[in-house]
C-alpha cells in the first residue's frame, strides 16, 4: 500500500483526502507514479466514469507498474508523459478547453498535486473544489526563500538548495501559489553549524 498518514501540522500545510465521484460536465485526472492506484480504485467503484475522462499520467519511478491496469479501464483520453513540465502545455490547454462543471482529480506525490492545483487555480477553479489524494513518495518541492529557486524531491532535512547552495531547513509552511514548502537557511546565526540531515517523518 502506498498510503502515508501525514502527522498533524500547521494550518498552511496542505491535507489530502480520498477521491470521490461527483457529478459534473467533464472529468480531468492528473496523476503521477502511485497516484494511478487511486484512479484505478475510483474507476472500480464507478464503472462508467472512465469513458468520460481525460487522464494525464506521469509514471516517473513506477515505470510500467500501473500501465496495463490503466489500459484495461477504457479511458476516453489517456496521456502518459515523462514529467510534469513536459505535460504542462497539454494540461493548460485542457483547462482552457473546459467549461464550468469540470471536475478535477489529482493523485500522487505532493509535488504533482501542488503543481496541478496551482495551474487549475490559475484557470479559475477554486482550490477547495479540487479533489486530491496523496499516494507514494513523501518527498517535497521546496522553495528557497533566499534565492527563490525550487529544489525538487527533497526527502532530507536539512538539505542543500540546488540553485544557490545554501543549507536550508524544511518548514511545513506551504504556498499554493508556488506549489512548494518553504526552505530557510539553517546556519544563518552560526554559519557552518549544520545539523546532520535526517529523513523527513522519521
Amino acid at each position: 500500500m502506498t498510503i502515508f498518514k501525514f502527522p498533524e501540522s500547521i494550518k498552511s500545510r496542505p491535507t489530502y483526502g480520498k477521491l470521490e465521484y461527483r457529478e459534473g460536465k467533464s472529468y480531468l485526472f492528473i496523476a503521477d507514479a502511485d497516484g494511478a492506484e487511486a484512479i484505478i480504485d475510483l474507476a472500480n467503484d464507478n464503472k462508467s466514469l472512465m469513458a468520460k475522462s481525460h487522464i494525464i499520467y506521469i509514471p516517473n519511478q513506477t515505470g510500467d507498474k500501473y500501465i496495463s491496469k490503466l489500459d484495461k479501464l477504457d479511458i476516453y483520453q489517456l496521456y502518459i508523459g515523462p514529467s510534469y513540465s513536459a505535460a504542462q502545455s497539454r494540461i493548460i490547454q485542457a483547462f482552457e478547453q473546459s467549461h464550468m462543471g469540470l471536475q478535477v482529480y489529482l493523485a500522487g506525490t505532493e509535488g504533482l498535486i501542488g503543481q496541478a492545483l496551482r495551474d487549475a487555480m490559475a484557470a479559475g477553479i477554486p482550490h477547495t473544489f479540487i479533489q486530491s489524494e496523496h499516494r507514494g513518495s513523501v518527498a517535497r518541492r521546496m522553495q528557497c526563500v533566499h534565492c527563490k529557486g525550487i529544489t525538487e524531491d527533497v526527502i532530507n532535512d536539512p538539505f542543500v538548495c540546488s540553485h544557490c547552495g545554501l543549507n536550508l531547513f524544511v518548514r511545513d509552511h506551504y504556498s499554493r501559489r508556488l506549489a512548494a514548502f518553504q526552505g530557510v537557511c539553517i546556519d544563518a546565526e552560526d554559519p557552518g553549524n549544520v545539523p546532520t540531515s535526517v529523513e523527513l517523518y522519521k
Binding site: E23, G24, K25, F95, S98, M100, G101, L102, G124, I125
Partner: protein, 320 residues
Amino acid sequence: MSGSEKINVKVSNVVPLNDLVTRFEFKRTDGKLFPTFSGGAHTVIELKDGDITRRNPYSLMSDPMDQEGYSISVRRDDAGRGGSLFLHNNVKVGDDAVLSHPVNLFSLDLRAKKHLMIAGGIGITPFMAQIKQLDRSHGNWELHYSVRNPKLGTYVDDLISMHPNDVNVYYDDHKNFIDIVNLLDGQPLGTHLYICGPKGMIDWVVGEAKKLGWPSEVIHFEEFLAPKPGEPFQVKLSASNKVINVGENESLLEAIEREGVDAPYLCRGGACGQCETSVIEADGDFVHRDHWLEDDEKLSRKKIMPCVSRFSGKTLVLDR
C-alpha cells in the same frame, strides 16, 4: 457599536417607476460628498414613524462613483411589516432621514473571468450598481432578469437600451422563463454566478448549478430577508435587567432597541452574524429564520439572531 457610521440626509427625489416600485434619492444635509462604495453594498435607512424608529436595509443602486447622491428602489410589500409601505405612503421630497455607511455582503469576486448575474424582480437593484462598477473597468458581465410583465419590469428599458448585448429579460406572464440548465451549460471556467431575488428562485438556481457540478465557492446570492411578523412573545434581557414584549409586527432586535438597549447589528437581514446573541435560558421553541447560524448552533438552543428570528414559549432569557 450598533450598525455602521451614520449620514444625515434629505430626500431629494421620489420617482414611482411602476405600480409596485418607487425610487428614492437622497442628498447629504451637510453638503459633503457621500462615501464611494462597492457594487452590491446596501444602506440601512432610519426613519421616524411617530414614536418608533424604523430601520430597513436596501441595496444601493446608484453608481458607486457618484458621490453627489445615493438612490434606492423599494418594492411595496402590502403584506409585510410596513417598512416599505411607510416609505411609499409617507416619505416625501424634503423629508429627513439617516442612512448608514454602505455595507457590502454581496460583493463581486474581482478574480472572476465572467460575472453571470441572475435577477428576479426587485433583486435587480444590487446589479444596477455592480454593472456600473464593472463597466468602468471593462469587466465581463451578463445579466438575466426575470420580471412579471413589461409594466412591472423595473429599469428594463434603461438596461436594454444601454446594454443590448448583455441584458436578457424574461416575462413570467408571457411564460418566458430563464432556461437555467442551458444557460449554465458551457459557461467558461472561472465564471462566477450571482443571484438576487426571491428565495424560491435562489434555491432553484443554486440547486441546478450544483447538479451541473459548479463549485459552491463561485455561487453568490443575496436574499432580502425582511423580518417576518409573528406571534408576540416575552423576553428577559439579563444584562439590562429588563423584561420586554416583542410585538407581532416588530422583530426581536427592534423590540430590544425600542426598550433603549443598544444591541449590535449590521445587515438586519439574518446574514452577517453581527447581532448574534447568547441564550441564557429557554423554555419553548426557537423560530430560526437566519442564514448565519450553523445547523448545530440552531439546535443547541444557545444562540439566536434577533434581527429576523423569533421564539414561542414560556421563557426566553438573553444575554443583552
